[in-house]
C-alpha cells in the first residue's frame, strides 16, 4: 500500500495532495502523485500483462483515468487502494477484451473449506520460483492478479475486499479458485513434480 508521506510533495499526505489537485487541476501537482505511485502501478500492470509495451500504455491510461475521475475519490479508502482498484479493473478489462475470455463471476459465494484453503496455500508456497512464474503465465489475468495481490503484495482479505469491492466470502472464494487453478496448471505443466 502507498505510504502516507512518501517521495515528492514534501510533507503532504497522499490524500492532501489529491485535494490540492482536485482544487487546482494542476498538472505539476498531479506529477507528484505520479511520482509516488507510478512504479507500483507500472509493476502491477507488468505483472498482470507480462508485456512491457502494454504495461507502459496501460499505466498512461490509468493515470489519465485517475485524473479525470479524481472528483469521485471521496477518501473512504486510501488513495492507493482507489488507484490500485482502477489499475486492476482497467488491466483486467483490457485483457478480457483481448482474450475474449469468459467474464469472471460477480458473486462467488459458496462456503470455503478452510482445510483445503490451508493445504492449497501450503502447496502453492512449496512451488519453486521459476516454476511458479510459468504457472502464473498459464493462468488467466484475474487469477494471476489476485494471487499476486495476496502473496506478493501481502494484501489482507480486508484489503482485497476494498480493492475488488466484494464481500469477504466472495474474496475468499475467488482466492480459493485461483489457488486451485494454479495448482492444476502446475500439475499439468510439471507432472513429474506435483
Amino acid at each position: 500500500m502507498a505510504s502516507k508521506r512518501s517521495a515528492g510533495g514534501g510533507e503532504l499526505s497522499d490524500e492532501e495532495l489529491v485535494e490540492q489537485v482536485k482544487a487546482s487541476l494542476n498538472a505539476d501537482s498531479f506529477g507528484l502523485i505520479y511520482d509516488r505511485f507510478a512504479g507500483r502501478v507500472y509493476r502491477k500492470c507488468l505483472s498482470m500483462t507480462r508485456d512491457k509495451a502494454l504495461a507502459h500504455d496501460l499505466t498512461h491510461d490509468i493515470f489519465l483515468k485517475a485524473f479525470l475521475n479524481m472528483s469521485t475519490f471521496d477518501g473512504r479508502s486510501k488513495f492507493g487502494t482507489w488507484l490500485y482498484r482502477i489499475t486492476f479493473n482497467y488491466c483486467l478489462d483490457h485483457l478480457r477484451k483481448r482474450q475474449r475470455g469468459p467474464a469472471m463471476a460477480d458473486a462467488e459465494t459458496a462456503l470455503v473449506d478452510h482445510t483445503d484453503e490451508d493445504r492449497y496455500e501450503e502447496e502453492l508456497m512449496s512451488i519453486r520460483a521459476e516454476r511458479l512464474d510459468a504457472v502464473l503465465a498459464h493462468l488467466d489475468a484475474s487469477d494471476r492478479a489476485i494471487l499476486l495481490f495476496k502473496y506478493q503484495e501481502e494484501m489482507s482479505v480486508k484489503d482485497l475486499m476494498d480493492l475488488l469491492e466484494m464481500s469477504e466470502s466472495a474474496v475468499k472464494m475467488r482466492l480459493m479458485r485461483a489457488r486451485e487453478r494454479a495448482l492444476k496448471a502446475y500439475k499439468e505443466l510439471f507432472p513429474g513434480e506435483a
Partner: protein
Amino acid sequence: MKQNPFKLISVDEEPPEHLRKEVLASIRLVVLMMRFAQLFLADYASVLFDKFKLIPGDEPTEGDENAKP
C-alpha cells in the same frame, strides 16, 4: 524457513522515464480541453468575466447585481 516464491519472482522494474512526460502532457491537454469545454457549456459570459476581472472574490455584491445589463 522456506522463502515465499511469489516474492522471488516479483518485478522490480521502474516505468520508463519518458512515460512521466507523456502522462503529464496528456493531463495538460485534458485540462486545456476541460477549460475550453467549460467556456461553452457553462455561462461563457460569467466564465470569461471570472477569468479576466481584476477585483478578486467570488461573492457578487449588491452593486454587481444592479450593474448587470
